[in-house]
Amino acid sequence: MSTKLNVLTHVMVPDHQLMSEEEVSALLSRYHITTDQLPKIYHDDPAVKAIDAKVDDVIRIIRKSHTAGRAEAYRLVIRRPKK
């Protein structure tokens, strides 16, 4: 009966995109970092589940910004520690 809610369609949820391997390596070399220096997001985050990202994937989040109009952020998907 119930239709599954797609969180990504909610107005307050910013756009989440799964990044390809090339994009990730470009990102890492742009900032001269390794993946563990990226901000993190848990694997069971509803938006992460919605775009079907797995642990160790990197996702791009595009938000509306008060200051810049549009802002991109990147997060590394990690496993949520139990409890």
Partner: protein, 879 residues
Amino acid sequence: MPSPKRIGKIEFGLLSPKEIREMSVRKIIWADTYDDDGFPYPQGLMDLNLGVIDPGLRCKTCDQKASDCPGHFGHIELAKPVIHVGYTRLIRKLLRVTCRSCGRVLLSPDEIEKVVGTDEDSTGDQISEKDVKKERVCPYCGEQQLKINFEKPTTFSEVMVEEGKKVEHKLTPADIRARLEKIPDEDLIPLGINPKVARPEWTILTVLPVPPVTMRPSIILENGQRSEDDLTHKLVDIIRINQRFKENQDAGAPQLIIEDLWELLQYHVTTYLDNEVAGCPPARHRSGRPLKTLSQRLKGKDGRFRGSLSGKRVNFSSRTVISPDPNLSVSEVGVPRAVANEMTVPVRVTPYNIEELRQIVRTGPVRPNVGAPCGANYVIRPDNRRLRLGADNLETVADMIEPGYTVERQLRDGDVVLFNRQPSLHRMSIMSHRVKVMEGRTFRLNPAVCPPYNADFDGDEMNMHVPQTEEARAEASMLCSVQENILSPRFGGPIIGGIHDHISGIFMLTHLVRWFNKEETLYLLKPVKIEHMPPAGKTEDGVEYWSNKQVFSQILPAALNMVFKASSCQNCDTCKKELCDRDAYVRIFDGKLESGTIDKKAIGAFDGQIVNRIIRQYGMKRAAEFIDQVTKLSIRGIMIDGFSFGIDDEDLSKTEYGQIDDVLKNAALDVNRRIKIYEDGQLEPMPGRTVEETLEMQIMQVLGKARDQTGQIAGRHLGLGNSAVVMAVSGARGSMLNLTQMAGCIGQQSVRGERIVRGYDDRTLPHFKKGDRGADAHGFIAHSYKGGLNPTEFFFHAIGGREGLVDTAVRTSQSGYLQRRMINALQDLKVAYDGTVRTTGGRIIQFQYGEDSTDPTKSAFGDPVDVKGIVEAVLKEEV
């Protein structure tokens, strides 16, 4: 400097009895401290092996003097084991999760794995009390478990069922220790204990370390008596009881006495460790003051962590009351001579300054008046010996100095100092100023720098620090100077600018058009460094006159162009621009004030449009100059007419009082009419509201409108000739609402945004009938502050006022704590060269600082670029 090292791991463990004995240099057996000759007893609490505090004696362990010996631990052998209060929680957990007979954890390997996980896939969790069900059977030996009761502070007991009744059987520390000993090492790991560094039985003390005397020094009072440290007192108690316990034990005393003594020993060891344990009366000094024992030394604001380690104390600082001096520059600070004579700057002697420094040394430590050259208090020889300068050695020392010496010179005019007012909530709370030595006993500062410090002169005190190195002085003057901090990073506008009388003064000076003759013009422009008088604005009967706008234009940069609305602007539907009745349309064309009044919007702290524009176009230095000049000009401006405010400034005429009475009377009638409608059940509720709420809202509205009307009536009578109106219109202080309340009507008092309803049954005060919903009965004050309140009004006013006070008190404490947490979270973040915000470990917090890489200090009130301002400056007209 050694290179920074990364901490690999930190190990937390317990001291084993073996370790305690190994680190001990002496077994302590006597409760006495000093003998009659004042010499420490051997094997007493002040034993010379534990370190020395008396000068002249040498430590028996390390053979060092009192100043060098770090102190050494001793130990006391306890007659019977006692529980360490700090570990009662852990002991309780261990007793509850392990078997009472075999000591194994009461969970099967499968159950443990469920909680802890396997080696490859660990949950990071540990076995807790909840994982073990009550009174189960041991999966290893089959023993029936009993419920363990814990009673604060240190009593453990087992609940046994005997003949159908529950009987509590007390566990002695020795019993507990025996049970903890039985727990095998491998069972401790899932419990979160590393058995290599912390065996559980070590939480039960069998031997007590005695801290070195250096951490519990005795002090000698004026009457020659020794006064021991609280810790020593407590240790004396422990040794005494321990001794008695041993004697009784050896004599084979009855079990009851042994138990009593055991409990007493437990009490003393407990309070020695922590004198604020729940369920345990604190040990007291003879005077009745609770003793400050180990835990109390560490805990709390004045404890070792927050008070001693994180708390910083400095030399070269001073503190006194502040007072205003409008003749100082904003970047100066007036320093009392007494302070300047005491505080010093070290100067290295070089061939280039040796003569000057000789002269300074000859002057010595006493500066007779502010005009006199500075002297010096100390000279430091190349071998780091300090020579104090006094009247007797000035000449000798002056002749002695040569390159390599350092002279500690007194403060003199122009020295850079840091000036600070607590609470230091933002970076502008500490700014560097230039010293100006003055007579008197207070620090003097220009009132224009009050806003960043949030200072006033009702008794505020401020601190001054003198940087001691060239590097510190350079940083202070280039990064922290007042000039560099005019712009606030909070909103990207100037936080330093005119306040109070500066604004009233410049408003009165520049409002509409006034003409000044040459004498007046020169008086006004005296503090302004101008080289030529501008051509006169008009000549009447051969006398030259200059307009007030011309006078003000003299302090503006020559090519300044801007258009804005003054704070007296009423936001009319169609702006009359230059022809504005209130002269609120400010237009500056090529550095000349063409029209408009200068007020808070133009030069005030937080607003300061002109100040802001000068910073952007001409830089900080010119802006600081402008603030100095505008404050001085406005003070002279205000002194032409004088400015005062008194009780009779709130007087209105008979007509106005009549009108106000009418308004209030009509409002009261209107309120009553609406109450009548409500009581008749005729009131239509507003959507989403009850009838009562609707009535309340209507009444509030009617009364609010009535108060505003009285304000308008008062405002009509009081024109710009009234000081309060000048202050309100110019934005210097107060508002028209304050004026309304003084002259017209104070209006409705409220608690939580509603009319006052608390008090007695169905009424606020016994002066009213029950159920009275009228204006007077619920806190409407029809009188003005000038007219005076009647007793019920006065009481309602106090109720409303109290709410405001409570709100401020609550807000400050909450925002203070919030700020503390934010600072702790953000303090080490920095913006990297690639624009990312990172932690010290290089982890990225933000990919672009603020998402737009804009420094809020340099933004135009938040926007990255002030497009309108730039276009207007170029086109020289409003867009």
